[in-house]
Symmetry: C2
Subunit: 307 residues, 2 copies
Amino acid sequence: MSRPIEVPLAPECSACIVSSLKTMIPLLTAEPNEQFEMFRLAYKRISEGYDKGLTPVVLSISLYQELYTRAGVEDPYKQIKYESTKAALKTLPLIEERLRGLEGKEALDASLAAAITGNVIDFNTAAHSPDLDRLVETFDEIRGEGFHIDDTEALWSSLTSRTGDLMYLADNAGEVLFDIPLVRLIRSLGWRVIYVVKGKPMINDATREDTTGTELETLADIIDTGGWAHGVPMEWVSREFLDAVRSADIVISKGQANIETFPAIQQQTGVETYYVTRAKCPHISAAIGTEAGTNVVMRRTGHVVPK
Amino acid sequence: MSRPIEVPLAPECSACIVSSLKTMIPLLTAEPNEQFEMFRLAYKRISEGYDKGLTPVVLSISLYQELYTRAGVEDPYKQIKYESTKAALKTLPLIEERLRGLEGKEALDASLAAAITGNVIDFNTAAHSPDLDRLVETFDEIRGEGFHIDDTEALWSSLTSRTGDLMYLADNAGEVLFDIPLVRLIRSLGWRVIYVVKGKPMINDATREDTTGTELETLADIIDTGGWAHGVPMEWVSREFLDAVRSADIVISKGQANIETFPAIQQQTGVETYYVTRAKCPHISAAIGTEAGTNVVMRRTGHVVPK
């Protein structure tokens, strides 16, 4: 059994949540008084969240749900997500050129690096025309840096010694396109891929719409978490999603919100899981035993018996 | 009479203030419960500040003063300021090489670009070993971009057609070193320079200590605002400082906090003032009629008769 992953609420988490509101609130309303009220509500809810000791992901999801509902806006990041996808579609071929001709474990490592490249590039902010050359540079940097937590040998061994159902937990819109080389490779090894997006739009997390018309539809069965949340917090995902986890043989969990939330499910099901991410937040990095700024492919298996 | 400059409180200002607390609060206390309490206090004070319609700079100063007092820490940024100064001392000669041989108005423009380079580089955060080449690049970029608001002709004309007392309102520790070429040039034109630092440590704003042992001491008379605040908010500066403004013939006001606060004093005294800054915040940029990311040398003169 591996050490469980738990990301605690740290005081600075509130600063990151507030920082995200700088993008979100203007997308919810253009009216300054209503913007003030939304920030005020946020401060109240964060203070209350501190009292209750909520985890950062649960605190932020509750708050975002309340703000979305108050504004009556279903998908405030719609335009940002659309632009992200457009930019990713344009830049993916440059990464794929780099992957051409690679085989075996080397192809796996490079595809993982591509997936992490998607995780690094922040299409979330105003970067509507990201620097294409820079993106390829990022990919090369990740290839050069390697994985600071590196369970790629175990992943390669699992992928090549058997077959079955592999569940892939997606992260953001746009970023999902960079998962294609990895999903393609896994498919070519004989696996069925279940690619999981979010049930309802929450920040810039990918929903079904963000995979529509992409190669992901031909490579994988696309399902959703049933949840109105980033990540897969147990409180908000559907029974159908949990059943799908139970019948999966391997899970690849992409990005930070999934690292904050999937371990609770992983520990109950015991499913062999690989967390693939760029560690960005120092608290999440500490929780998984690495430093911020590193690339992670981390294996977790086994049940945790509830206390 | 020129249009008065007023920076309103916008909803997103709170997000910037909270973001600064991410650096500040860990410098005030290492104790997590106390950090939670400080964030909670901040949310309370920001909400109250919204009700009172405080300006962003007054809201942040009151809050920072309360947090400093609560923690009983006089200068939480001491180490950061020390590192900033050390780094600036090392990198200044590279900029000065670029300035060598320049004369007349060209020397003024290049010295203003050097001063703005100081304003661009953020020694405030963890960048303790800033990339020296990058710093020179920044200087070259600013030289290439030029000034989006450009009253340098008026400044050059004023500096060369007469002499007198020039007051220079400094900004951050470290950054002050990049003011040296400009102060040196102004001195060489026959002006006496009064260089103004802050009365008490507030965030990473320069105090007397941050100019000690530098060439600024030989070039200028160094005085302070008498205030415990960034910028020069009327509520917090000393009578002595205001008297010094009244007897100044020209003021150079450096950085954003001074642009937020000096106009109130400038309008009362009518002193010919040049605001030199990189416009970073969109609201401050809008208030002075430019866009974020531009370089500004903006002249203001004349009294505003109180309503």
